[in-house]
Symmetry: C2
Subunit: 100 residues, 2 copies
C-alpha cells in the first residue's frame, strides 16, 4: 500500500528525479501532482513510448493521467489512494525518463 | 488534402455517426471539435483500444487529441489544417466506434 509522502520527502524525491535533467526538462510540482510535457519526433515515437510506459504502469499498478496530441504527451502523476504523492509517482516518473 | 465541412455537412455526418449509438454514447459537437468519453473495463482494455486506434490514426495521417486516466479516454477530434472539422474526423471517430 502506498504511503503519502511528506513535504520534505517530496522535495527530496523531486530533486533526485530532476538531478540529471536539463532545465527545460524538469518535472514540476503542481499541488498533489507532479507534471511534465514530453515531446517526441513523431506520433509513432510518442505513442511507442506511451506503450512502453503503459505496460510499466500496469506492472506497478499505478497509472498516469496523460494527454496526447501528435508528438506531445502531457503527464500528471498523483496517488488518489493517499490524496497526494507517493513513491509510486516517482517510480513511474523514473520509468518515463528511462524509456524516453 | 482535407476539406472543411460546412455546418450542414457536419450535422449530417454527426447524425450518421450517432445513428446507432445509445443516448449516453453519442458524440458531441464542441465548436471545431467532436468529442466523446470512452469508458472501458480496465486500463488494459482502454490502452489496448488506444493502441489499435493509434495505428489507424497513423494510417489515416490524422491524429486524435486524447486524455487517458485508468479506464477512461476522453477524445477530441478536429482538423487543424482546415481550422474546423473534416471527413477525417468522422473517419477516425468511426474507427473508434468499430474497435471499442
Amino acid at each position: 500500500m502506498a504511503e503519502r509522502l511528506t513535504e520534505s520527502q517530496i522535495d527530496e524525491a523531486l530533486s533526485s528525479l530532476n538531478a540529471t535533467l536539463a532545465a527545460d526538462e524538469q518535472w514540476q510540482r503542481d499541488g498533489d501532482k507532479i507534471t511534465k510535457t514530453f515531446t517526441f519526433k513523431s506520433f509513432i515515437r510518442a505513442f511507442g513510448w506511451m506503450s512502453q510506459i503503459a505496460i510499466w504502469a500496469e506492472k506497478l499498478k499505478h497509472h498516469p493521467e496523460w494527454f496526447n496530441v501528435y508528438n506531445r504527451v502531457e503527464v500528471a502523476l498523483t496517488t488518489h489512494d493517499v490524496d497526494g504523492l507517493s513513491e509510486l509517482d516517482f517510480s513511474l516518473a523514473e520509468k518515463m525518463e528511462k524509456f524516453r
